[in-house]
């Protein structure tokens, strides 16, 4: 039998190793992207920003950045507004089929994205919507909505209904209560929801792959298209940009919540 101290030490070592294994691939790509060598080498022998120059110097990559940003921001606005209304209704409303509707609204995360993508493509191809960026944002909103709902439902749970009642008693209208009480109290949750729905869209590949056409290639779609040909180092630079965006969103979320009740990442489960 192992002693308890030895066992605890072994477990700790194992967990440190596994956690290292979880972040290492991401960190390695980020470091390798600054390599000055002809191919991706880790550790790099010389440092340079040549892959970033090639990435940002290519108008197709720049176009992909703009497409991703445009679609991401639009998705974020759509899903946060629609999601907030739905989350509030599910929280405070009393109506039939509430559980069924709540479960139904979450199904887009469970149904494989390939099915959602093919089905929306089937519809879009017949309506000439392939390559239309606002439409891609609408499609992304479907998969971002569950994320927003989970975050906002947990945010609204902390809003005391008594405060809303008090405001009503003091003569505030229903809309006024919404604007002056509910919205300000739920604001940190709203910002988290906006950040994570942006990330969902910014990182989404499968739906974009079908809907982008040649006019609206997003960053993940362009990465996909070039990876099918070869593993070229420019993609390391693009990947690092995507990682930086994710890290920034997580940092902003942590900052806004100041770790109140844990990061939204946990609520998003």
């Amino acid at each position: 039998m192992m002693g308890p101290v030895l066992r605890a030490t072994l477990l700790r070592a194992l967990v440190v190793l596994l956690c290292f294994g979880l972040v290492a691939p991401i960190v390695i790509v980020a470091i390798a992207s600054f390599s000055g060598d002809g191919y991706l080498k880790f550790p790099p022998e010389t440092l340079s920003i040549r892959w970033y120059e090639r990435f940002l110097g290519d108008h197709r990559w720049r176009g992909a950045i703009m497409n991703s940003l445009f679609i991401g921001v639009l998705t974020s606005i759509f899903s946060t507004v629609i999601g907030f209304l739905a989350a509030y209704a599910l929280m405070r409303g009393q109506f039939r089929f509430k559980r069924v509707i709540a479960a139904l609204l979450l199904t887009p995360v469970i149904v494989p994205h390939i099915i959602t993508a093919v089905a929306i493509y089937f519809l879009s191809a017949r309506m000439g919507l392939v390559g239309f960026r606002p439409w891609i944002a609408v499609a992304h909103t479907v998969v971002a909505l569950p994320v927003v709902l989970v975050i906002l439902q947990s945010a609204l749970r902390t809003v005391d209904p008594a405060l809303e009642r008090a405001a009503m008693v003091c003569g505030c209208t229903r809309f006024g209560v919404f604007r002056r009480v509910v919205l300000p109290l739920a604001l940190p949750g709203m910002v988290s929801a906006a950040l994570f729905s942006f990330l969902t869209s910014f990182d989404e590949l499968v739906i974009s792959l079908f809907l982008a056409g040649i006019r609206a290639e997003t960053l993940p779609v362009r990465i996909w298209n070039s990876l099918l040909l070869e593993v070229e180092p420019t993609i390391a630079a693009v990947s690092t940009l995507l990682i930086a965006v994710t890290a920034t969103a997580l940092a902003l979320d942590a900052l806004i919540r100041k770790f109140q009740g844990g990061p939204a990442a946990l609520a998003a489960r």
Binding site: L11, I26, A89, I110, I114, L123, F210
Partner: protein, 277 residues
């Protein structure tokens, strides 16, 4: 402040319209529209037997289940200790472990897949370490085969398992563990007789969610696999993009969708279940 029924429905309307118009309706239309190209029920049934019992689809379904099962098992074995440590950690250790899980979790799947393609290539870091340690004499093929798919998918799906297990483990009352210890149980017994049974529903939920996500996977097997590692999602994509065989894509979609929804039904029972008392 309770909300009136009309107000509640009005607030839900945009979400429900979106779900109906851009999710349920397209899926229904795609399935019914594609299949009705074939004719009546008899023709569809005949074609379905041809497609679903063909050698190709059989092999692909076998691949899908095999890869899904291995990946789920690996993710559970690797994820369990990490979740356990996370559920026990406080302060800095908690934040550090959480960050190691959450950063990959929210990084784009294609970026995570690319990272492993760089690491596993013939001149990649893993091969150079193996060569440097003289464990192998020449570079090992770790990419564009089953090994690559399994490594890549295990990495991508690990955070889902860890976060699901964590939710179950955090709900365990530490007093129960102390009580067992106080009554003379060894740490192994406490783990085996108290902690494990109390977190079993989390393990089942984690296994189900990982398997559900694994069998619908597309990006990682498409980029890291070889010709023998085609999974069902890839076959659906091929039928649509290459051969434009919509009826056959619809049939495979029905199989994948049905399996996913049935497993999800079980999942929601275990995920919502309170820890047994």
């Amino acid at each position: 402040m309770p909300l009136g029924r009309l107000a509640a429905w009005l607030m839900l309307a945009p979400a429900l319209l979106l779900l109906a118009g851009v999710f349920l309706l397209p899926i229904g239309w795609f399935l019914i529209g594609s299949l009705s190209e074939l004719g009546g029920f008899a023709e569809i049934w005949e074609e379905a037997q041809d497609v679903l019992f063909s050698g190709t689809v059989g092999r692909v379904l076998l691949n899908t289940n095999g890869i899904g099962a291995i990946v789920t098992l690996l993710v559970l074995v690797i994820g369990y200790p990490v979740s356990y440590a996370l559920s026990r950690a406080r302060g800095f250790a908690f934040t550090a472990i959480l960050l190691c899980i959450v950063l990959p979790y929210f990084t784009s799947t294609i970026v995570r897949t690319y990272a492993w393609m760089v690491l596993l290539g013939r001149n990649g870091l893993i091969n150079r370490i193996l060569l440097g340690l003289h464990l192998v004499d020449e570079p090992v093929n770790l990419l564009y085969n089953r090994t690559g798919v399994i490594i890549g998918m295990t990495y991508v799906l690990l955070p889902y398992m860890v976060l699901t297990l964590f939710a179950a483990m955090k709900a365990v009352d530490p007093k129960l563990l102390q009580a067992a210890e106080g009554m003379g149980a060894s740490p192994v017994t406490v783990f085996r007789r108290v902690f494990m049974p109390l977190t079993l529903h989390g393990v089942i939920a984690g296994v189900l969610i990982t398997f559900i996500l694994a069998i619908g996977f597309f990006i990682t097997p498409a980029l890291m696999g070889g010709p023998g590692d085609i999974m069902i999602a890839m076959l659906i994509e091929r039928e649509v993009e290459l051969t434009q065989n919509w009826p056959s894509a619809a049939m495979m979609t029905i199989v994948l969708l049905a399996v996913t929804l049935i497993l999800y039904g079980f999942y929601s029972r275990f995920a919502e279940q309170e820890a047994p008392r």
